[in-house]
């Protein structure tokens, strides 16, 4: 029994000394600790020795002895566990304090490229209208005069053709001057079905200066059903404009003329740089040129002649269409001052988006 008591005293002393060294911040204590642990708990350790020696005791002493040894074993285990925890904690604390990493060095990034700002805006617009249940539709960029003009109520020798500076391949084949050709294709191939389509795409005009590119991107939107009104056009554009330009956006509609819509309108939104004030902190707003409005695009109710040309009954169906320039919205969104940036492909431009 004394033997058990001796071992216990020795163990306490050893662990206290270790604890003191740990508290003093001494390094390399794991080894000392592990050695001590083996000396007590190992197969040939003191505690195992006690259990082995139990066989030499008289039978009546054995239960008490065994109980004491077990107590010692549990006591040692608790002591070692807490000691081990302390040493581990001290090791971690030491390694944390010892780090010399310069965290201000730049991160190893997987080099990222960029999407063209116009494709980002295009995706955003598609996603918005997809959310409203619109279908993405497409049409050819090189098209027959019929789809680009005649089906849209623009006969030959009509002065409204002056509104389109058209690229011709030959007498019958043109580069589409607007995405409205998709309307003609879609209405022709989907007779008598309610239509909700969004059709972004590149269009072409013989025009090349600081504000015009001969190729630019438009989005066309067409809704056809029974009972569609001009008020619905305004409603749809309103939710889109607020999504695109912010919750405070207001709209203005001005009468205009497109042969394929009637009534026809131009839509302006309040300038989101100056909040429609025309000036920012007393400085004239350069985005809206102090008007407080930004021109966005053309729209209107589908002209009955378009229904007629494409085999629909305008008495039964009505609809609306609108179109706007992705280039323009992109330039507004990112503050791009010159349209030529969009197709010059300067890396210093592309990398910004």
């Amino acid at each position: 029994m004394q033997l058990i008591q001796d071992i216990r005293v020795r163990l306490d002393a050893e662990m206290q000394s270790l604890q003191a060294k740990l508290a003093a911040g001494e390094k390399g204590l794991s080894k000392v600790f592990e050695d001590a642990k083996i000396r007590y708990q190992g197969k040939k350790g003191d505690i195992s020795g006690l259990l082995r020696s139990m066989g030499t005791l008289p039978a009546e002493q054995r239960p008490d002895f065994g109980k004491l040894v077990n107590e010692l074993r549990d006591y040692a285990e608790g002591l070692f566990d807490s000691m081990q925890q302390g040493i581990k904690e001290a090791d971690i604390a030491g390694s944390l304090a010892g780090s010399t990493l310069d965290a201000t060095l730049p991160g190893y990034r997987i080099p990222q490229g960029s999407l063209h700002p116009m494709s980002q805006v295009r995706e955003e617009i598609i996603s918005f209208f997809q959310g409203l249940g619109f279908e993405l539709a497409a049409g050819p960029e090189v098209d027959n005069d019929w789809y680009n003009f005649e089906a849209l109520n623009i006969p030959p020798d009509h002065p409204s053709r002056d509104m389109h500076d058209t690229f011709y391949v030959d007498d019958q084949v043109v580069l589409r001057t607007h995405t409205s050709n998709v309307q003609a294709h879609y209405m022709e191939t989907h007779p008598g079905q309610p239509i909700r389509i969004i059709a972004p795409g590149f269009v072409y005009r013989v025009d090349n200066d600081a504000t015009h590119s001969p190729m630019f991107q438009q989005v066309e939107c067409l809704v056809v059903d029974k009972d569609i009104s001009f008020a619905h056009l305004k409603g749809t554009l309103f939710v889109w404009a607020r999504h695109m330009f912010g919750d405070k956006t207001t709209m203005r509609f001005r009468p205009s003329y497109f042969p394929f819509t009637e009534p026809s309108a131009e839509m302006d939104v309040s300038c989101y740089f100056c909040g429609g004030q025309g000036h920012n902190n007393g400085q004239p707003c350069r985005t809206c040129k102090t008007t407080g409005w930004i021109e966005i695009g053309g729209c209107g109710s589908v002209d009955p002649n378009v229904f007629g040309k494409l085999g629909w009954d305008p008495e039964e169906y009505s609809g609306f269409a609108f179109g706007f320039g992705i280039d323009r919205i992109t330039m507004l969104k990112y503050g791009i001052p010159d349209i030529s940036h969009l197709t010059r492909n300067d890396n210093r431009f592309l990398k910004q988006f």
């Binding site: 690229f167 009104s229 009637e262």
Partner: protein, 844 residues
């Protein structure tokens, strides 16, 4: 089109309406659909006021200067004036100190300051008309009427200031191309009456019969032709009011007769033409088609060959006028003209448009004829203009009016029915029949009887002749919406059944690829879809390559943009060159660009015979991005290589889920003959784009189809584009990828038992390829062999010249048990035996 505010005010009184403010009027015009694109205010210089010259004496030291005192009614100022006509008692325009005098003809302006002129104080300036933007004259100061009150700012002095509005009039609104037309809109907007111009006609001259005869032959081109004669006219300078009116919208005065025809055109929209009666040979005016070989020298001095399609106004001997477009030199009114033949006609819009285009000519007249003028007003305008000419140019109007009409000529107002309920439904708001009628009548329509259309109550409206664009109910509905202001229409979302439309597969794929390539470090470009045969030729394509058969434009902007591209590679390579010249040497670009292939065999009445194909193009140049910058690990950085591009292609195929094999080399002329490859996709149906580019037979025979090529740019092509350093490129058909895109991956069980590996070093000739050696391994026949990985390709110490060492690691794994050494060794031995059959492979 420009309109003058003062001129508009002749027809509508804006006093007491919001339209009295020029800025508010501008907004009103825009809200009516007559978009104001510019506003020029004249005769309103801040700091310039009406004043009186109190005293005026010669300058003691300068003959040409006067020393004056001037008052604005409250203060008196000493002024030195250089004008010869200045005199005491005059009412003048006086620029006070601080006034900013605008510059003339683009010159900078100046600010009035206190000055001393040869010893005399001068605190202001008495203005000449050119100094305050009222005219060109600098001959003397401008003297105001004696009754002008003192101290009025310039813009408040009656008749002095004006505003010219630049209107963008859409092609459907010819009625708004004149002052009465614009005034009609304003009058409707502000609820004011419109005052039509008029002048009493006195036919006091000799009879017109015998003086001239009209023969209307071309009734398809001219449905109405009205003639008047004015005798004893004196052609000379125009009266001031006329010069001023024309000048207010930037028109030059020519002579009184021509100016009046122009004035009436700008007032009523009706073009007219004045002939010198005595220069009309044979006293005959013939409206006919030109004959082959006829020529006409038009007023712009151009001698024109006429075609048989041209419509003319001719006399007995030949052409006088290209009808509706421009007059001829020979019959022009001149200072010696005493008798005038006046033409007021209605020409068919399309005919005028075609002949204007044919001769590259557009005039104020043709612009209006081709948009359509009022067919009902011809005679009335002829009478009015004749009366004006007699009034302002002297002479008498001959008795009688010659009036030739084709039977088809519209002689009475068109009737159009409106269902108010339909208008409400299409606009989307309640209006009521009375309000619909009120709006339409405010612009000159006349409501008539009610009836039924499609079972709904309808109102008949008589359409005035000047609104030829109002032909259908829809046109009336637009007018109702417009006149009520679009901004009063409700904002309502349509209620449509729920529905979901997934993106089309092509859009999903291109979106996936774009995002994938962006994440892989590439920048997306956008090139104009124009190219040139010259740029295309730089690729060195053989004539039989489908990319060589490009589609040219008939009216290209420039030689560089004369064709539709059959490949975007030249544009992308040019973009790399541009960036290299701007110190951006690491250009890594991609673009999903459209290519246009000529397919004449597919041309039909509605199809253009051009196939449009989306092609993914990639170009890499400069250094491949270092994934551990500043680490000093040079093995990670360096110029872009073939295998960078190959890895990129492999990854994007994997991302797209495409089952495809890379073969090499590619045979494309623009690629390196060795350092290149092709993408071969397994698929049943060959997409058209791939078929056009790579042919169908070959593809079908191998059960796989080529959908793209990639590799190092051919050095000859690289030099054509002046590119530096390594440049790599790829071109892949999107429809090819789409046709090959695989199904969703299916789960394959993987063993939980540990894998065992064996390494092998093989020494081979430099010419032997990894693919070749891999092909010799019995991978399919050793079931436990899971993976063969190439660890390194080594050349150098220990490896003889002309040889290379390939280090492979073989991984073995069994799905249901742990492999023993013996089992692995046996399997590896099988591999080794197979490789040993090849005498070119030496085990190290």
């Amino acid at each position: 089109m420009e309109v003058s505010l003062n001129w508009l005010k002749k027809y509508v009184d804006l006093n007491g309406t919001p339209g009295d403010d020029p800025q508010a009027l501008s907004q009103a015009l825009t809200s009516l659909g007559l978009e104001v694109e510019g506003m020029k205010v004249s005769g309103a210089v801040p700091g310039v006021v009406s004043a009186e010259v109190l005293t005026c004496a010669r300058h003691p030291e300068a003959d040409k200067l006067s020393v004056c005192t001037v008052t604005d009614g409250s203060e008196t100022f000493p002024v030195v004036c250089g004008a010869p006509n200045v005199a005491a008692g005059q009412k003048v325009l006086f620029a006070k100190v601080g006034a900013e005098i605008p510059g003339k003809g683009g010159e900078p302006g100046f600010k009035i300051k206190k000055a001393k002129l040869r010893g005399q104080e001068s605190h202001g300036m008495i203005c000449a008309e050119d100094e305050v933007g009222l005219g060109e004259s600098h001959e003397g100061i401008l003297v105001l009427p004696a009754e002008t009150p003192l101290g009025l700012p310039m813009e408040k002095i009656a008749g002095l200031s004006d505003v010219a509005y630049e209107l963008n009039v859409t092609p459907n609104r010819p009625d708004a191309l004149c002052h009465t037309g614009v005034a009609r809109e304003i009058a409707a907007k502000f609820g004011k009456p419109l005052r039509y111009p008029g002048e009493a006609l006195k036919e006091t001259g000799p009879a017109i019969a015998g003086q001239i005869d009209i023969q209307l032959e071309d009734i398809a081109g001219c449905s109405k032709y009205v003639g008047r004669v004015i005798n004893g006219v004196k052609v000379g300078p125009s009266p001031d009011w006329l010069v001023k009116a024309l000048k207010s919208i930037g028109k030059r005065s020519i002579n009184n007769v021509v100016d009046l025809t122009n004035y009436v055109l700008l007032e009523t929209n009706q073009p007219s033409h004045a002939f010198d009666l005595n220069r009309i040979r044979g006293k005959q005016v013939i409206i006919r088609k030109a004959k082959a070989g006829e020529r006409l020298t038009t007023l712009d001095g151009v001698d024109r060959a006429l075609t048989e399609a041209d419509m003319l106004i001719a006399d007995a001997q030949g052409p006088m006028v290209l009808a509706g477009v421009m007059g001829g030199k020979d019959s022009e009114v001149s200072e010696t003209t005493t008798d005038i033949f006046l033409e007021v006609a209605y020409f068919t819009p399309a005919v005028v448009r075609r002949q204007g285009r044919r001769h590259g000519l557009s005039s104020d007249s043709s612009f209006r004829f081709e948009r359509g003028i009022d067919p009902l007003a011809t005679s009335q305008v002829a009478d009015y203009l004749a009366a004006l000419i007699a009034l302002w140019c002297g002479g008498t109007v001959a008795n009688g009016r010659l009036d030739k009409s084709a039977p088809e000529h519209q002689a009475s107002p068109r009737i159009v029915y409106l269902r108010p309920a339909r208008a409400e439904k299409l606009i989307g708001m309640a209006l009521g029949e009375a309000e619909c009628a009120r709006r339409l009548e405010s612009i000159g329509l006349k409501a008539g009887a009610t009836s039924q259309v499609h079972g709904q109550p309808a109102l008949a409206f008589a359409i005035p002749g000047f609104r030829g664009d109002l032909e259908r109910e829809a046109d009336l509905i637009e007018e109702i919406a417009r006149l009520g202001d679009y901004n009063t229409i409700p904002v309502t979302l349509p209620t449509l059944p729920l529905g979901y439309k997934a993106l089309p597969p092509g859009e999903s794929l291109s979106r996936l690829l774009r995002h994938h390539l962006k994440d892989a470090g590439l920048n997306e470009t956008l090139n104009l879809r124009f190219s040139s045969r010259k740029a295309l030729a730089k690729l060195g394509l053989p004539a039989e390559d489908p990319r060589s058969a490009c589609v040219p434009l008939r009216n290209p902007i420039s030689e560089e943009w004369e064709i539709l591209p059959t490949t975007a590679l030249p544009s992308l390579l040019a973009a790399v060159a541009y960036n290299q010249n701007n110190q951006e040497r690491n250009a890594r670009f991609f673009e999903i660009a459209r290519s246009f292939y000529h397919r004449p065999e597919e041309r039909s009445a509605r199809l253009p015979g051009i196939w449009e194909e989306e092609m993914l193009c990639i170009v890499l140049s400069g250094d491949w991005p270092d994934r551990r910058p500043w680490s000093g690990d040079t093995a990670l950085s360096g110029p872009v290589e073939f295998h960078h591009l190959k890895g990129l292609v492999e990854n994007l195929l994997a991302a797209a889920g495409v089952q495809a094999r890379l073969g090499n080399p590619a045979t494309d002329a623009w690629l390196h003959p060795v350092e290149s490859g092709v993408i071969l996709a397994e698929q049943g149906k060959i997409p058209t784009g791939a078929e056009i580019l790579f042919g169908s037979k070959r593809a079908q025979s191998k059960g796989e189809v080529r959908i793209g090529s990639f590799g190092v740019l051919n050095p000859r092509v690289q030099s054509q584009f002046d590119l530096k350093g390594p440049v790599l490129a790829a071109e892949i058909s999107l429809s090819g990828l789409l046709a090959a895109a695989a199904k969703t991956p299916k789960f394959k069980a993987f063993g939980h038992f540990s894998a065992v590996s064996r390494d092998l070093n093989l020494l081979v000739d430099e010419a032997r390829s990894h693919g070749d050696i891999l092909g010799r391994m019995p991978t399919g026949r050793v079931s436990i062999l899971q993976e063969v990985r190439l660890n390194s390709v080594y050349r150098g110490t220990g490896v003889p010249e002309g040889k290379k060492a390939l280090h492979y690691t073989f991984t073995y794994r069994h799905a249901e048990k742990t492999l023993t050494d013996d089992e692995v060794n046996k399997a590896q031995e099988k591999v080794n035996q197979e490789l040993a059959k090849d005498e070119g492979i030496v085990f190290k």
